[in-house]
Symmetry: C2
Subunit: 497 residues, 2 copies
């Protein structure tokens, strides 16, 4: 594989220079208009050709009565029309020379009966004209690096590194605010697949595998249609880029729900577990966990093994993290005599220098962010760290006030201190090339959480979630090694022939 990204049919869909848009009007409450507004308000810089039979303008842009009237074959047609006129519209696009489309309209395979015939007709038209398309019954596409948000919800957050392909559009659009509030970053690219009449998961994995803005791939899966091809493609990609999947068809209730959602036939958990293992894919148990894993995998160097040191100043969160580490297949090595000696000057007598290293408090709070984790990263018996962060800027401000810093200088100085502390942790991860996963019950309202995250340290919202994410990184490291090893062996095999 290793397609050139521009050869993929998903390239013009996620990087269009021009869009022919069907279904936008000046009626604010229609789905088509909502999506069209999102495209405009997200600052799309390409050309927009709204097609409307009556209106002269749509949201102040020149409208065209028919697609044949637009000045060029657009890179992509975006179709949000009543079910019955989708097929003829796609044909008209084909006549115009348009070769890529997103079909949002529903009422096809997922409703059964006539819908199945309608979907077959779409595919027949697409084949006739060489059109490649996502949908029908999908929700759109987003490419944050190209300022493209062709979905009905407003994009939030900075461009990120998670590339997602989803058999539910909700898990693209409805995660905009979630990802922004949780991590401050969003998708690199997101594809809603809908019924997968044409473009499917496999195409997305190929595209996202080659996408330079995507460091890790997230998949929401209700059913895999091209099993063998899926495994081959994912296997190739996961050698160099992690893939995390959330699969919901595995339980009896999940299976029935998938059938009515996208008309797909799901298989039992065991089967999918096998597929994922062969493909080098890490399975997540919930949508939150999928994003946790992606966020950690995309932010952090990979651990060389499963040995973790936990640093905390609170016993409970430390114990919870330790327990969760055990349940996630991680080991907590004891500190070596050298480490114990080096760390002694920095810990109070109430501290515990077992692993978890529970400082209870630090003589000098700054040590918590620099010298202590530095010593723990130097420990050879460990492959990475989990650090519990409670610190709040409020406490820094209080300390400054207590030290007699004048009120008008406190805010600035506190912000500088917080920034420097966060930078210190980030530099340690850079220097030691070992993963540091933070955890905190605080959100990004807390300046330390935001400061760490924005400098590349993943901070997850609970000890269990951090431990599970570290476990996922360990699993990926092992799967990847196995894939690379088997590639090497088969290469050796061929050269010996």
């Amino acid at each position: 594989m290793v397609v050139s990204i521009s050869e993929s049919p998903l390239y013009p869909i996620s990087n269009p220079k021009s869009i022919a848009f069907f279904g936008a009007s000046n009626n604010f409450s229609s789905m088509g208009t909502s999506i069209f507004r999102s495209i405009i308000s997200n600052g799309f810089t390409g050309k927009l050709y709204p097609i409307h039979p009556q209106e002269k303008t749509v949201l102040n842009l020149t409208a065209y009565p028919q697609v044949s009237d637009i000045p060029e074959p657009a890179d992509m047609a975006f179709i949000v029309l009543p079910t019955k006129i989708v097929a003829q519209t796609l044909a008209a696009c084909g006549e115009k020379g348009i070769r890529n489309a997103v079909i949002v309209s529903a009422g096809f395979n997922e409703v059964g009966g006539e819908g199945v015939e309608r979907q077959a007709e779409l595919l027949e038209i697409a084949n006739r004209y060489g059109i490649r398309f996502t949908g029908p019954n999908c929700i759109g596409v987003v490419n944050s690096h190209a300022r493209l948000n062709a979905t009905f919800l407003p994009f939030e957050g900075k461009p990120g590194f998670i590339g997602m392909a989803s058999q539910s559009g909700s898990f693209i659009t409805q995660m905009f605010s979630y990802l922004n509030q949780r991590f401050g970053k969003s998708f690199s690219t997101g594809f809603s697949l809908g019924n997968e009449a044409d473009i499917d998961l496999v195409d997305c994995i190929e595209y996202l595998g080659a996408c330079p803005n995507t460091k890790v791939i997230a998949l929401y899966i209700e059913s895999i249609r091209r099993g063998q091809k899926f495994i081959e493609t994912a296997r190739n990609v996961s050698k160099h880029k992690p893939i995390v999947a959330f699969y919901v068809g595995g339980s009896e209730t999940g299976k029935r729900a998938c059938l009515s959602h996208t008309g797909s036939l799901a298989g039992p958990d065991r089967l999918y577990d096998g597929v994922f293992r062969q493909s080098g894919i890490i399975r997540a148990q919930s949508i939150e966990e999928m994003f946790d894993f992606c966020y950690a995998l995309g932010s952090s160097p990979l651990p060389k093994g499963n040995r973790v040191i936990i640093q905390t100043h609170s016993g409970g969160p430390g114990a919870a993290a330790a327990d969760a580490c055990g349940r996630s297949g991680l080991e907590l090595p004891a500190l070596s005599p050298e480490t114990l000696e080096k760390i002694a000057p920095y810990v109070p007598h109430t501290a515990s220098v077992n692993n978890p290293v529970d400082l209870t408090f630090t003589k000098n709070p700054l040590d918590f962010f620099h010298r202590i984790p530095e010593i723990l990263l130097e420990e050879k018996a460990s492959d990475g760290m989990l650090i519990y962060f409670l610190a709040s800027e409020r406490m820094v401000r209080q300390a400054l006030t207590g030290m007699g810093v004048p009120e008008d200088a406190v805010l600035d100085q506190a912000a500088q201190i917080v920034g420097a502390q966060c930078q210190s942790v980030a530099s340690l991860m850079e220097t030691f090339k070992k993963p540091i996963l933070g955890f905190s019950f605080m959100t990004r309202d807390n300046h330390f959480v935001a400061g760490l995250q924005d400098r590349g340290i993943p901070v997850l919202p609970s000890p269990e979630r951090a431990a599970r994410a570290f476990g996922a990184m360990v699993r990926y490291t092992k799967l990847r090694e196995k894939l690379l090893q088997s590639e090497k062996e088969s290469a050796g095999h061929f050269s010996a022939e």
Copy 2:
């Protein structure tokens, strides 16, 4: 059991009319001062007697050189002093006639060696004077209904109904902002237990079982000291008030962490699972899950069985909820012909009226909050509902603008509409006495989420978490029935003798 609440040693500790406070000074960065400031700034209305050898005032309150100088034996002594002078201070409190204390100071059993002797000495002094105390090595106490926050972090949120006893103080204090951001409500009462030299989990369960502000009890457990008494007490309480426990000593790594945190000896998961089952306690797998369960159990009527209808307008979240229901032991009954007939006029042709009921969109958005869930609650084959909420006030405002409502009236009208919708859902739960659990990836920044929560509808942050919380409610219903049944049988047994 069934103590009168005022007989419990925890009554004066959580409802003191006066506090003798040791360890506060005018040095802002000390732990004692932080706690003392919290008490003042949270609006405590009782008397505060700071004891300080030198200072004339502490934070502008008259200070006393020794406890013997204060004008009355305070309801409670609060001790945040260096380890070595804790024992003599406790004795001085005894001499003064003080009979209840909270000892925050650390350096006792949890550090081993001399610490063990020091803890024995504390207990000996307490016994001599009849003092009952929490700690040492605890973090304080909070009673939101009495405006008492004796911890070093600021209290956040409204008084709530979760009463917590925790072997880690962090899971009291560090959850203030979590609970507020997540649910808008905090603890009713929270006890940090520390080393449990005297007052322990059992005392807390007794107290919280009788506390009128507590609807559900949360326990963070590293180890249970009085096993038989724990089971008896919890069994009695859980007949009328749910208890949820998060236990972390079950894995090898968790066990070691607990040992160094509070010097407690944890047991294997299997053992604790048995204890919890016998006690009628619901076990949670993480701190987040513990609060999810508590929040749902305290907000909602109990389900009569495990049959759930899922209502959604997004297929993915619906399918994820369905899958999670299967994994949480819940059934998704098919809708009866009567229900299908009643609901038909309200659903578009793209909808799926299997269970999940996936509306895709609603002809009239208001139906989603009233007529549709009403019909689904009337369904006899179901014991409750999970509803996915995406709605945003922004969308309501857009719709109003689209309808030509003048800009200056839009905000008010939108707030009214949101409030009415949320009230409608809350009234349905009231009328049908079936649980309605909401789920949404949005937080309380979203007015629908806050509106529903503030009207008593629990809204959890993901489909999996909502399904698991519903599963916990079903488990509690069953455990409770079993306990009540066995009580009846043994009563019958006695009367037959």
